[in-house]
Each structure stands twice: as structure tokens, then as C-alpha cells.
């Protein structure tokens, strides 16, 4: 049956992408909050924040992209939850299709939707003065890290999508993820924070990811940060995938 994994995933991916193109508002609302944060921090707070970098937009953008993805993945939980509630999930599960195709189609849809949202936010940043001299390789590295992060966070989103009891529960998990960048190097350098907070900020995943993205875009050496960032992404991915698959199997026991 797994012979059909690719074609089944492809058919189901077509279905959920159609959901997105028929409700573009889900992508627009995904980008609204990050864009609002971007404008707020650049024009309202930015003037008073001293990051030591030349342009605050460029300093800020990586963190804003992380927020974009964190808010975007909550739609995966929502869509999965609606499939479970509506009975479509049961219908597909009772058909002779590759069983994991159902989850993978939602995950791939999340990758596509979030990349569109990220591109929209980057374009807005360009419009308000973000510039980067980064080469093709550096941009590819940025895209790769963002994709990996989206993949990892999407598998986190699959868990509430499968297990939530209500639609609010299915989307509420994203709030901590959205606010995690605030206690990191995303908006301000961590060294002005009080001791324990600075320690947390220095050692949580967003800081290494944001620092890596920032260094890539500013053509600085990425140092050890890139390995820490990749380790975090892969670690989150592996754990979230395992928990999500366990929740998935439990649904059919």
C-alpha cells in the first residue's frame, strides 16, 4: 500500500492547497501580525533600541520571520482538527490509501503556505528599507533553515490538531511559540537582560536560529550558531514527529 504513498500524498496535497487558494485570508492573516510587529518595532520602538547594527530593519527581520512561521503553523493544527471533526479524516482512513499520506499532505501544505507568507513579509521589509548583500548560497541557507524550522514546528502543530478537544485548543498552542522570539536576540541584544533571563534567552532555540539568519544576511561568519540552530531544529523535528505519530496511532487503537 505504501506504493501509493507519493500519489496519495500528492492528491491530498492538491486538496489542501486548494483550501488555501480558496481562502487566501488564511495567508493574509498569517502575515498581518508579523508585519504589524515589523512596523511597530522599526518605526515606534526601533529609534530607541541600540543594537549596534546599522539598520534596525535588517537586525529585526530574522526574528519577524520566525514569528511569521510560528503563527502560520497554527493553521495546520486548525485544518487537521477540522478534518477530524468533519469526518473526512475517518473517511480517508477507511479507504485503501497510504495512511500517513493524510498527515504528510497537511505538513507539505504548511511548508508551501508558510513560504508564501515569509516571502510576503520579506517583500514588506524590502519596501521599508531592508537590504542584504548576501549571495545566492547565503540566501539558500536562509531558505533551508526557515524550511527546516517550519517542518519542525508544523509537526508540533500536528499534535494539537490530532488531540485537541475544541477548535480553540487546536490553535492556542501557537501563542507561546509566537512570544518565544521576544525573549531572545530577535528584538534586542541579550546582554542587556538580567542574569537568569539572559541565560534563558542565550540558550533557547530562537536565539541561535535568529543569529544564524542575521549573520547569513549580513555576510558575517555564522560560527557555531548554525550548528546549534540546526541541532535545535532537527531535535524539535524528531521529538515532535515521534509524539505526533504516537498520537496518530493512538487515534486508531
Amino acid at each position: 500500500m505504501s506504493a501509493y504513498f507519493v500519489s496519495d500524498t500528492n492528491v491530498l496535497l492538491g486538496r489542501s492547497l486548494r483550501h488555501i487558494t480558496r481562502s487566501m485570508d488564511t495567508i493574509i492573516t498569517t502575515t498581518l501580525m508579523p508585519i504589524a510587529f515589523l512596523l511597530l518595532f522599526v518605526y515606534v520602538f526601533g529609534g530607541a533600541i541600540n543594537t549596534g547594527s546599522e539598520s534596525y530593519v535588517s537586525y529585526l527581520l530574522p526574528g519577524i520571520l520566525v514569528i511569521t512561521i510560528a503563527s502560520g503553523i497554527s493553521y495546520t493544527a486548525l485544518r487537521l482538527f477540522q478534518d477530524m471533526q468533519g469526518g473526512i479524516f475517518a473517511r480517508f482512513q477507511s479507504m485503501p490509501i497510504a495512511r500517513s499520506a493524510m498527515l504528510w499532505s497537511h505538513v507539505l501544505t504548511s511548508l508551501v503556505a508558510n513560504m508564501v507568507a515569509v516571502i510576503v513579509v520579506v517583500l514588506v521589509a524590502f519596501a521599508i528599507g531592508f537590504r542584504s548583500g548576501a549571495g545566492v548560497l547565503a540566501w539558500l541557507a536562509v531558505a533551508g533553515i526557515l524550511l527546516l524550522l517550519t517542518l519542525a514546528l508544523t509537526w508540533i502543530a500536528v499534535i494539537p490538531g490530532l488531540t485537541a478537544k475544541s477548535i480553540d485548543g487546536a490553535s492556542a498552542f501557537a501563542y507561546p511559540l509566537i512570544f518565544l522570539p521576544f525573549i531572545s536576540s530577535a528584538f534586542v541584544p541579550t546582554d542587556t537582560m538580567p542574569g537568569p533571563l539572559a541565560w534563558f534567552a542565550e540558550n533557547q532555540p530562537v536565539t541561535s536560529i535568529v543569529n544564524t539568519l542575521r549573520n547569513l544576511l549580513e555576510q558575517q561568519p555564522v560560527g557555531a550558531d548554525i550548528w546549534i540552530a540546526l541541532a535545535w531544529c532537527v531535535g524539535i523535528l524528531v521529538v515532535a514527529y515521534a509524539v505526533a505519530m504516537a498520537a496518530y496511532r493512538k487515534k486508531t487503537a
Binding site: L12, R18, R91, S94, M95
Partner: protein, 270 residues
């Protein structure tokens, strides 16, 4: 697929299932003959949906055995899924897609060669051709159910499960669904349906089983079930039209088959 025609389409023996401490199924036994309509009757929460979900490989059972189309639901789940179609309790159609897209989606997932033709054929058969291009979120309850059943027919599975197919439908839509179910069985498909109303079982089923407190307490033809009732007394009671009779008298559709049946039934019971 090696299937023998002598085997029962569905065979359930000693089936048990618990959710935490609730012992929902306590040894359920029944068989469904090929090409027949079998109705599982029971109150809310009796475990009808649990049985349907186990038979359609959505749930694993704790004890006993169940086979569909000759395949064990636990050890040959893939073959079972090739043999069945499930129409769940809530019309499981994709609301953002059109009716036709829903049918094409299922046909493609069943790996059939000409999904478009199949979709058009079914839209026609279920009088949905005009609505086919509209999103299903605009459909009425009856249209959704018809589309739902049409989706279940794709690939001609030999066994179809209908979990409370008419719950929440108005009388006219219910008659439409009944018609569709009868057509199916006429074409040789085995249909197992669950229902809360004796009336529905009476109209559709060749055999009726009643699920109560986790066991099948009665299983037989309508005549056999009626023989279990206290003998009918002849009484003269003024027969008031039911609300349904009134509805059909005014609307004029469907000729009140349902209403008459219900009334007859009440007379015999009184």
C-alpha cells in the same frame, strides 16, 4: 483478492471493546449475508458506531474476531479497506471543494483511471449534476448526504457501512436516502446500516439486530422480530394523522410511505 461467495459478507464473533473503564461491547455476535441489508438498531451510546468503526478498521477491538468480505479486520486491514466504504454519522464531504471535486478526489484516492467520468456519472445518478459545480457548503442536508453516499460508491466496494444515514434529515431527504440504499442492495452490494428508529430498519433491512448493553439481544427478520412482540390485539382507535402525514399531504412528495409504516406499527403495538 481471494474472496469466496459462500462466506458471510460480515462475520462478527465475541467482539469486545472498552474505552477506559466503560465496557461498550461485551461480546457481540452477528453475521451479514452477501447482498443483504442489515440494520443495527440501538439507542444513543449503545455502541453502534463503535462496531462500525471496528469493522471499517478505524478502531482496534480488545477481544473476539471480526471479518469483512472474508478478511480479518485486525490482520488484513488493508484488504478490508479495499472491500469497504464508510459513510460516517456526519456527512463527511469537503466543504471547500465542489460536489464534483469531492467525487474526483475520492476516485483519485481509490486509484481509478477515469475520475472525471466517474464523478459525472454519480452526479447524474444522485440528481446533483446542476449542483456539481457549487461548493458543498451551499448544499442542503439531503444533498450533502446524497453526495456523501455517492462518494462511498466510488470503486464499487462490495460492502458499505452507513452509520445513521438519515439522522438529522427532513422526511423528504430521508426518503431519497432510503431509495439510494435500496438501489445499492438491488445491485448486489452488502449494506450494513445503523439506526435509532425501528421505522427505518423496518423499511430497509432484510435482517434487524438490536444492540443493547453491549450485546446483540435480538437478531432476525422483521417477521421474526414481530413474533417476539405480544400478540396484536384488535382495538378500534381513531387514527390521527402524524405530523409527517400532514407534511407529505401538504408538500405532496414521497407519497407518505414512511408515515403509513409508522402508523401501522403503532397500531400493532397498541
Amino acid at each position: 483478492m481471494a474472496t469466496s461467495t459462500t462466506q458471510a459478507a460480515i462475520a462478527v464473533a465475541g467482539l469486545e471493546k472498552s474505552y477506559k473503564d466503560v465496557h461498550v461491547l461485551r461480546g457481540v455476535d452477528f453475521e451479514v449475508e452477501r447482498g443483504s441489508i442489515f440494520a443495527l438498531l440501538g439507542s444513543n451510546g449503545a455502541g453502534k458506531t463503535t462496531i462500525v468503526n471496528i469493522l471499517s478498521t478505524l478502531l482496534k477491538h480488545d477481544g473476539g474476531a471480526a471479518a469483512v468480505n472474508g478478511f480479518d479486520v485486525a490482520s488484513a486491514a488493508g484488504d478490508v479497506r479495499e472491500s469497504i466504504s464508510l459513510t460516517g454519522q456526519f456527512a463527511a464531504v469537503d466543504e471547500i471543494l465542489t460536489g464534483r471535486e469531492n467525487l474526483v478526489l475520492v476516485a483519485r484516492l481509490r486509484h481509478l483511471p477515469n475520475p472525471g467520468e466517474i464523478a459525472d456519472g454519480l452526479l447524474e445518478r444522485f440528481s446533483l449534476t446542476e449542483a456539481g459545480g457549487r461548493r458543498t457548503s451551499t448544499y442542503s442536508g439531503g444533498m450533502r448526504r446524497r453526495l456523501d453516499i455517492a462518494m462511498s460508491l466510488i470503486g464499487n466496494p462490495p460492502v458499505i457501512f452507513l452509520d445513521e444515514p438519515t439522522t438529522g434529515l427532513d422526511p423528504e431527504a430521508r426518503l431519497e436516502v432510503w431509495g439510494a440504499v435500496k438501489d445499492l442492495a438491488g445491485a448486489g452490494t452488502t449494506v450494513m446500516l445503523t439506526t435509532q428508529t425501528l421505522d427505518e430498519a423496518e423499511h430497509l433491512a432484510d435482517r434487524i439486530a438490536i444492540l443493547h448493553e453491549g450485546r446483540i439481544i435480538v437478531n432476525g427478520t422483521l417477521a421474526e422480530l414481530k413474533a417476539l412482540l405480544p400478540p396484536a390485539k384488535v382495538e378500534y382507535v381513531e387514527k390521527q394523522p402524524t405530523l409527517e402525514d400532514v407534511y407529505f399531504a401538504i408538500v405532496g412528495g414521497g407519497a407518505g410511505g414512511a408515515g403509513k409504516g409508522a402508523a401501522t406499527n403503532r397500531e400493532e403495538l397498541s
